[in-house]
């Protein structure tokens, strides 16, 4: 028995044990794992179009003159509310006479910084993490 077979057997055993534990067997009422997987493949959201489009645009707009920026890089440039927050922090620092406006004033929720490239960073990035998909067993 080679490694792949052993892995497959262990995997199936794991799924079987999980299905026993959660009392949800592979019957017709609950979608099976394979069924879920098919549904995932059928789900055509804009994410699945992004990688080929990124490659295509990068060829048509070559990197010696252009830069293709996907949505993830636009967060700080286009979010007007974040910019307003940054101004509010700087304004408050000016009013309070703080030397460093990144200093904690209240709860630290508004702590922000702008790096050397002029990119706004907020500490709320973790709260914006969205998973592409979640498998429920």
């Amino acid at each position: 028995m080679d490694a792949v077979q052993r892995w497959a057997v262990l995997h199936l055993m794991f799924i079987y044990v999980i299905s026993l534990r959660t009392k949800r067997s592979f019957d017709s009422t609950t979608p099976s794992l394979a069924h879920r997987e098919l549904e995932l493949q059928k789900t055509q959201n804009s994410i699945s179009a992004i990688w080929p489009l990124n490659a295509y645009l990068s060829i048509k707009f070559p990197p010696d003159a252009f830069l293709v920026k996907p949505q993830a890089l636009l967060r700080e440039l286009w979010d007007m509310r974040n910019l307003e927050d940054a101004d509010a922090v700087a304004l408050r620092a000016t009013i309070l006479g703080l030397a460093d406006h990144t200093m904690d004033v209240d709860d630290g929720a508004q702590r922000a910084s702008i790096d050397s490239q002029g990119v706004f960073h907020s500490n709320s990035i973790t709260s914006q993490t969205v998973y592409h998909f979640v498998v429920n067993l």
């Binding site: 059928k42 959201n45 489009l53 707009f61 252009f66 949505q71």
Partner: protein, 119 residues
């Protein structure tokens, strides 16, 4: 992806810019918005297509407000499945009211992209 995804286009193509008041500013040449097809891969209705066009127009408007608009050459592209609509502003800065969708496999589409890249 972002939670409030209506705030950002899916792509922008920028040309490297000159040093401006706020540092190096890239000039946005093309704004790209990709429409989700949904679970059933149904052909989108005219209203659904108009929605994504409106969304793209809002982004183009924001570029203008931020002062980074590419004068009378602001261009945007919507992608819905294998169809694409390219919006390009006229010389008075306004956009055409009606848009046509072209297949991304057609010469119309590739020629339009090539024209944008050469400008």
């Amino acid at each position: 992806m972002h939670i409030d995804k209506r705030h950002y286009p899916d792509f922008v193509v920028t040309a490297y810019g000159q040093p401006g008041v706020y540092g190096e500013e890239d000039i946005i040449r093309l704004v790209v918005e990709v429409r989700s097809l949904g679970r059933d891969l149904k052909e989108p209705s005219a209203m659904e297509k108009q929605e994504v066009i409106d969304q793209l127009l809002r982004y183009l408007y924001v570029i203008g407000e931020m002062g980074l608009r590419w004068a009378d050459k602001a261009a945007g592209m919507c992608i819905s499945g294998t169809e694409a609509a390219i919006l390009q502003s006229k010389s008075n800065g306004k956009f055409p009211k009606s848009t046509t969708w072209h297949s991304i496999y057609s010469n119309r589409f590739t020629d339009a992209i090539q024209k944008l890249a050469d400008m």
